[in-house]
Structure formats: C-alpha cells, structure tokens
Symmetry: C2
Subunit: 413 residues, 2 copies
Amino acid sequence: MNLKNCMVAQSGGPTVAINASLAGVIRGVKASSMYDTVYGSLNGITGILNNKLLNLTELMDTHPDYIDRLTNTPSMYLGSCRYKLPDYMDDDSPYVFIFKQFEDYNIEAFFYIGGNDSMDTVLKLSEYAKKIGSNIRIIGIPKTIDNDLCETDHTPGFGSAAKYIASSLLEIAHDTFIYAVKSVTIVEIMGRDAGWLTAASALARNEYNTAPHLIYLPEVPFDTDDFLLDIKRLLFERNNVIVAVSEGIRDAAGNYISASESTVDNFGHSQLSGAGKTLEFLVKEKLGVKVRSVEINVLQRCAAHLASKTDLDESVALGEKAVALSEEGVTASMVTINRISNAPYKVEYGYAQITHIANEAKSVPADWIAPSGNDITQPFIDYLTPLIQGEPQLTYKNGLPVYMDVSHLSKHQ
Amino acid sequence: MNLKNCMVAQSGGPTVAINASLAGVIRGVKASSMYDTVYGSLNGITGILNNKLLNLTELMDTHPDYIDRLTNTPSMYLGSCRYKLPDYMDDDSPYVFIFKQFEDYNIEAFFYIGGNDSMDTVLKLSEYAKKIGSNIRIIGIPKTIDNDLCETDHTPGFGSAAKYIASSLLEIAHDTFIYAVKSVTIVEIMGRDAGWLTAASALARNEYNTAPHLIYLPEVPFDTDDFLLDIKRLLFERNNVIVAVSEGIRDAAGNYISASESTVDNFGHSQLSGAGKTLEFLVKEKLGVKVRSVEINVLQRCAAHLASKTDLDESVALGEKAVALSEEGVTASMVTINRISNAPYKVEYGYAQITHIANEAKSVPADWIAPSGNDITQPFIDYLTPLIQGEPQLTYKNGLPVYMDVSHLSKHQ
C-alpha cells in the first residue's frame, strides 16, 4: 500500500489565528480522499531537518474537541523558527535532506503557515522541487498581524489584532477621560514598515469617543514640529488627547523616531522599541503637559480571548482551501482571500503565484491616509470594519480561557 | 415636602469594577423607601465644590439597560480627582461649602467609591460632620486593583485585574514557548507597595504551563545576584523562563530597582516605571541570553472585556450595602467583604470604622510568600482563585464591547 500523506509547519511571529489555519489543514485532510496522514513539523522547517514530527491525524483522535480548541489557541501549536534556507545554488544540503524526508514519509504536499519570511521558504522549496522534478506541492498559507502580504485582501491574524487594538484603545480612552486636567496619552502599536495595525485604532471611535485624535503611520514621514503643533491645537479644544503611533515611524531622512539603538535580526530587519516613549519625553519637554505612553505589548498578537470570529473562520477556511488546491495539483503558490463586497462583507478564497508574494510587502495605499498625514480616511475604515466582527465562543476554566496543551514544545526542545 | 436625597462620587485610579459599585448605589436608592434622588458628583469631591452634579435617578430612566451597561463599563462614569482635602483645622472653607451643598440638595448620605486616598477623604468628612453635629452619613465603598485596603477580605477591582493578569500571562506563555532557543521574558505588573497583583500571575499555571517560573513581590527585598542565579538555574532546566515582577520591587536598602528617576505625586507617592526594563538590561548584560520585558499596561485596570463576574457582582452588592447601611444610620465607615469560606466560596458584606482603614495599607502576609522569596504559597493561590471566577455577558457592537457613553465627562470639563 502506498499511502499519500502531507505535512504542515508554522513559522514567523505568533498570531491569534495561525492555529486556526492549522486546524483548517487538519480538517481538510480529514475530509480528503487523497491524504491519509498529516504530519506536523515542530519549529517550522527545522522540525523536518531535526526529525521532530508529530502525527496530527493520530493526535486529533486523542481529544474530542481537538480541532475546536486548536482553532481558539493563540501562537503556534507546532512552534516556530527564524531559520532562513540558504540559496540552493550555494548549499543544497538542507534541500536534499528535506526532500528525502518528504520521500520517506510519502509526503505529497507541504503547507507552510507564515508571513513574509516564511513565503521566502515556500518560494525556495518550490524552486528546488521544480529543479529536481519533484511534484510535491508546496503551498503557503498566509498569517501575519502586520497585514503586509501582497495578493491577498488581508492576512489571517490581522483582524484579531485589529480587534484587540481597537478595543484596547477604547478602554484606554475610558481610562484617560476621568481627570479634568490636560493630558496626552501616546499609544504605541506594532508595525515595523506598514501602518495597518496602527490604523485599526480608528475603529475605537464611536458615538461618544473621538479617540484616537491623531494617528501616525510609518507610511508618512514623521515631523516632530508638526506633531507638537497637532497636540497643541487639540489641547485647546479638549482636555485629553490620545495619539496612536506606529513603532516604525521615521523622519523625512528615514531615521526611526525611537530612543533605543536599533539592532538587526537574522532577516536584516531592525528591531525597534520606544517610539511612544520618545514622543512622551518630547511632549513633556516641549509642552510641559501631563503625558503618558502606553505600549500595546505582545498581547496584540496573542490575546486569543479577544479574537475576531471573522478572522478565525477565514483562517480555518484558508487551511482547508490549501489542502483542496494541493489535491488539484497547485504548487508554488499561497492561498489568498479575495474580497467580493464590503456590505454585505463577502470573500472568496483563491491562490496566487508565490513569486509575486515572497520578499514583497504591502503598504497602506496613499489615498487611505488623510492629506494631513495624521489620520486615515473613510475607505480605510470601511475596509477594516468587517475584519473585526464576531466573537468566538471561548471555554473558561477556573476563570481562565482554555487553550490547547503545548507542553510538547518544551518536551521536544 | 422634604425629600431625602443622597450623593455618590468616585475617586482615585480606574478599575473595571468601580462603575459596578456606582450601579449598586443606584440600585440601592431605587429600592430604598428613604431616598428620592441620588446625585453623582463629577470628578470626585471636586464636583460638589464646582457644582458639577448629575441627577442619576433621572439618567437611569433615559436608557433601558442603564444599570447593566454601567456595571460593565470600565473606569469612572463620574470621573475622578486627585484632590486632597486640607485638614479642617487649617482650612475649613471646602468643608463649609461641601456641607452647604449637602443641605441645599437635601443630602442625607454621601458615598465615596475609592481607594486609600479616597478613604482619607471619607475620614475627614466624617470627622468634620461630627464636629459640626451633622448627621449626614459618610460611607466609603472600596475599590482598588491594588487590594491593599485593610478590614476587607479583598477590594472590588482586584479580582478583575487579577483575572486579566493571569490570562495575559498565560497568553504571553503561549507566545514565548514557540522558539527552541533559550530566552527570558520579564513581565512587569502594577503594585507600588503590595504584591497582590503580581502574585495573581501564578493563576496562569495549569496542566501544561508552569509559568511564571519566578515571582518577585515588593514585600521581599530584591537581590539582583539571587535573581540572576534563579534565572541561570532555570535556564539549565528549560528553554523559556518567564518572570513576573512587581513595578515596586526594592533592594535591601529600600531603593527601587528601576531605571527611571522617580517623581512624587500629590499624595507623596513615588511614580515608578521601568523595573522590567531594568531587569531586561541586567539579564542581557550579565547572562547574554535572549531577553524581553513586557509591561502589563493600564489595561490591567481598565480591560472590562475580561472582567471577573465575581468581582462585578460583589462590587454591585457593596454599593447596595452602603445604601442600606446609611438608612440604618451607619456613618464614618467603609463597607467590607468578609470571606466565610473558600470552598464553596462564600462572602458576607459588612462595614468597618473608617479610622481603621484610612491611611493604612495591607501587604501580602509573610507566610503567603515562599521562603525562597521568589514564589507564592498554596494558601495564597486558594485565596486568589475564587476572585477571578466567572465571565460577565458583554454586548458587542461593530466588533467592540459596548460601554456607557461618558461624553458628559469632557462636556463638563
């Protein structure tokens, strides 16, 4: 008997929805007439290299609500890695080993759930497969809170992060409004190069809340004089000014507005922190007003207790779609979300060539940013609003959300 | 007709439950045969001085679910203040004005919802009332995320903050476990002088999660050498070490372990930040391991989307209790929660003399801290666990929690 199997792994930074796509892949395989077993590679592609593989088909049967719980569990059930494959022209040894593993496990398709860097891995594996004449399907499944992948309307994980940021901003506004004294609150939000997440803070505005009063995205060169003028103007009108600012804002010369020295990670990205703190000190020094900065911390990417149901549902669907596409022979691609309409919100799932996606990044379009450079426009709000709709039914035990046991991650390390 | 009325105000820092106590007062007045109208003083006691008063009895009829929505709304519906009453021996002018207002509005009872500093106001108003022979009842209703008020088993607002901190710690643990490399994560939690909130991080431990692996409270002098040894020891055993640390940890000489200069607020408290950052830099420098610090920001006191139902229910009950006690003639007191049993969890509501509470603070008992000084003991867990139970039914609209309109706070400023 020659069973056909497939394999899945997760890579990059955590999101709330990346396990939902894993659950989608498992569901897809369960419904498939082609695949027998789906294996999970631990810590991204390195699990294949180190032979750390889980039989997910078997595991699924260990727990009655394995799929549901996995769907609602934040971060990565299979762990992650920051491993960058070398160019196979320079060193094909990891490729040789990976494809030998695929052969040993009768792997017909490999699904890689991740962001930009992971799509680079999908591209490289696809090119190597083509070179050696392997017909193993290599398909990327997008996830990133940053929403900066091309060819897809938006990325899984973004909607939940946006919902968390908007809710947090609203709660911070309630926290801020209580004192009848002039104050400035600066809220720093993730997003190195693209302002998608920072823009989502605008969804906090409602019938009684006009905050955030200023929104600064990395797409617009940041001018500290303009910023101080904006603040001064608003402090005439009202007591409490709330500012949403991306961690990645830069001046006209391209230098980060950040107090800390930047260091460079394995992929050549600068690691930032401190734009909010820097602006806090600036306001204190130049305006002498009460000021505080709040860094929306890693919870914006892991607070599964406040996920967007829309986001989780779409993430599951993309996992299932990837399995279905692989059965049709699609490879060297990433599954995508295509928006059909905003009201009612409707999407279709498709795919795009990985060559159009890997190592590209999608910025906020210029006409979605207000001409003043300190706010976003209505079309952007219309784009964002459907993505944060709906609340998943979470189970609580002893007062805490119930997530999937991930102790295998430390056992296998 | 000589109608009897009462008045309520809120003061100090925000919590998730302080509006629940306000809702309790309104419910109590609604059910009362003694009081006609309850007035809300905006921005604490300063609303009486500036004649900024809301007729809450009237407002309650404007919205069908006014009470329910108020119960679930974070921070202060009536706003807050940091105003400290002078000693009436030095300057009785604010007292004269306040009690003239009470007379003009036929106020028979004044309820002040707040923490330690607000109980100082309750004490002073009570003493002044006694001096002038007024029989206006002055009753404090506790609230503080810090849980440091005496005479009550715990304080409203603490349980919800504890639930937020424990859930966040669990989600941060999921976020942290994914990389197969050695790393240290330092989570900084509020609590200037008492470690109640930091201890609540221990509730994140479950069948698969042993984090936080170290817990440092301000009650124990912090030794950086011991801390580094603790970290080194744990890094032998496992990849990912997670540390919960209070913002208020101090060395044996009493100096804050904080990078920032401390400033002093109106009440003479040092304003802190940076214990987590300081330890991050220390670990980076001394151990050279991957390290990150996360400051659990103001959301620990305003994230109503993750409130404890037990906390909200008790806060409402204390508001109602305060109204009932005032009808019985009780004054110069604060309502209290008395725990009858842990399993099943059962409480009674009572009151205590304000002289025993104002300007006192309750630290974590020594035998609830592990002898090692870097963890808490089981009796502390048993104390904390009931306080975070239950999830309130929140309404969501457009993807965000629906809270009470607080635009009156900016209009009246």
